[in-house]
């Protein structure tokens, strides 16, 4: 597998979005689908917790986009549009199935949000890596999801706030908590030998 893109190539996605709107053929849609679907499926799985439902929700969003391709709005960032649509569809799904009485963000599946320091960027001892993973695994799902959207998808605070339907303050607070917990876990770490 190629290395994940730290900066989600949304420029390329926007080209595909325009191409699908204008040309409207199936191959344009296929390129568009494959560009975004992995991230949307991952996102939907964290909200819904089940693979089949996530696939259903994302395909609903994608099919709607395909069918309405000629009347799609001009968007600033395609990923924000798609993430928001996926969140709405997922919440409707949860409501319909009466699974969630409280905030769906409380039920985020943390097992799909596991992080590890990239060995290409930072050389760390096994012990150090274990500590970091321990710190990340202690974070609640909501916090990890915010961290993922900011760091992996390169989204802004206000964009994440829009996608998750929370305040910008909450986004910032979740990021701060994640970093604080990491720092506390790292604080007594011994000096890495191979750095």
């Amino acid at each position: 597998m190629p290395k994940p893109n730290r900066d989600f190539p949304d420029d390329q996605g926007k080209e595909l979005w325009e191409k699908m709107k204008v040309e409207g053929d199936q191959s344009a849609f296929a390129s568009f689908y494959h560009h975004y679907a992995s991230r949307l499926l991952h996102f939907a799985s964290t909200l819904l917790g089940a693979r089949e439902q996530a696939e259903e929700v994302v395909n609903d969003v994608m099919l709607w986009t395909w069918k309405n391709r000629h009347t799609l709005p001009a968007v600033e960032k395609v990923s924000v549009y798609l993430y928001t649509a996926t969140r709405n569809t997922a919440y409707n799904y949860l409501k319909k199935n009466a699974r969630s009485t409280t905030d769906p963000l409380d039920d985020i599946q943390p097992e799909l949000l596991q992080f590890s320091p990239s060995p290409e960027q930072l050389h760390l001892s096994t012990e150090a890596v274990r500590k970091i993973e321990k710190a990340v695994n202690a974070l609640p799902g909501r916090c990890r999801l915010v961290f993922k959207l900011i760091r992996e998808d390169g989204l802004k605070y206000r964009e994440v706030a829009e996608i998750l339907d929370i305040s910008v303050k909450t986004v910032e607070a979740q990021m701060a908590i994640a970093i604080k917990k990491l720092h506390e876990q790292l604080h007594d770490m011994t000096v890495p030998k191979n750095s």
């Binding site: 390129s31 992995s38 099919l63 799909l112 596991q114 992080f115 910032e172 990491l182 720092h183 790292l186």
Partner: protein, 337 residues
């Protein structure tokens, strides 16, 4: 970073000052690309007093979703795409799919009759049909509407039962470009040396070298490349990978894709390309062995486009543009000062 990591880690252990209360919001803003210039300076000043923060910042920068998460999502994508495909037929239908539908509706009785007659013939022939080119290029339409372009000196076989439940092709030698007609229940697979390329609706180029190296370049849609050791990789439009005959890896290639399809488009593009790389492109396109002799010459950079030009004319332009001498003997070129 203004200091070495080691130095900072050493200092980190000695520091015991209290961190300001808003420090985590500040670090978060910087890590999220939300910070103002003033905030960046504020953190810089804090880092001087609290170098232990560096460790945390370095770790946050290096944190990534684990590859397992990415792989699981990619696998889901392939599955859900299969689910979705039957529903996107109501596109502004292309003429090809209309014709195919018509054939499906009216053609069955005739097809069954003909199949009965043909099956006897199949036993008399091999299970593969061979297409081969020598010095000239060729293109042909396969029975399912897919199109294949063959470069010179290429051998491609396709199964006699091509299109009946599967579409299998074997690239024995050379280079070919495939434009695959999408068919839900008819997987399209190209076998090239140790690599199998499974198509998920798309167009792509495959080059098989005599030494078993296989190069793949996808121009639209996506394909799955899988080698004999079970390693696989999904490739999207724009992706270029290589698999040598010796190691089990499939590796991305970062070199320019501008000339990968030159053999088919007859268009050569050299955008600030060093002569050493130009030589490789010319060798592939004109089916030559190119040798760059002089290291001074090989670093010269070429900016030029050629549209369906004979070799002599191309060499003339390169010679004048870069002020190099070129000698040509049989299938060998030499660039020198």
């Amino acid at each position: 970073m203004p200091y070495t990591q080691r130095h900072l880690f050493d200092r980190a252990i000695r520091t015991k000052d209290m961190l300001p209360e808003n420090i985590w919001e500040l670090v978060a803003r910087i890590q999220s690309g939300e910070a103002s210039e003033a905030e960046e300076q504020e953190l810089q000043a804090l880092l001087d007093q609290h170098p232990e923060l560096f460790k945390t910042i370095l770790v946050v920068e290096a944190l990534q979703l684990t590859p397992e998460m990415e792989e699981a999502a990619d696998e889901m994508r392939m599955h859900s795409w299969q689910q979705l495909q039957p529903h996107i037929d109501d596109a502004p239908a292309t003429s090809r799919t209309n014709i195919r539908r018509l054939l499906i509706r009216t053609g069955w009785a005739a097809a069954i009759l003909v199949a009965g007659l043909l099956s006897y013939n199949w036993w008399l022939h091999n299970t593969w049909k061979t297409l081969a080119t020598t010095s000239a290029k060729d293109s042909l339409l396969l029975p399912d509407g897919s199109r294949v372009f063959l470069n010179a000196n290429t051998t491609l076989r396709y199964a006699r039962n091509y299109g009946k439940g599967s579409r299998e092709l074997m690239l024995d030698n050379g280079e070919a470009y495939f434009e695959v007609a999408p068919q839900q229940n008819n997987p399209f697979t190209v076998h090239a040396a140790a690599v199998d390329i499974k198509v998920l609706g798309t167009a792509f180029n495959v080059h098989r070298s005599a030494n078993g190296q296989v190069d793949i370049f996808v121009t639209s849609g996506s394909v799955k490349a899988e080698n004999k050791s079970g390693k696989s990789m999904v490739l999207h439009a724009g992706a270029q990978v290589t698999s040598s005959g010796k190691t089990p890896d499939i590796k991305p290639v970062s070199t320019s894709t501008a000339n990968v399809l030159a053999w088919k488009t007859n268009h050569l593009v050299f955008n600030q390309m060093p002569l050493s790389e130009v030589a490789v492109v010319l060798a592939n396109y004109y089916q030559l062995d190119v040798v760059v002799t002089d290291s001074v010459v090989s670093h010269k950079v070429l900016q030029a486009n050629f549209n369906n030009k004979p070799l002599d004319e191309v060499l003339d332009v390169i010679g004048k543009a870069l002020n190099v001498n070129i000698t040509k003997k049989h299938k060998t070129l030499e660039f020198h000062q």
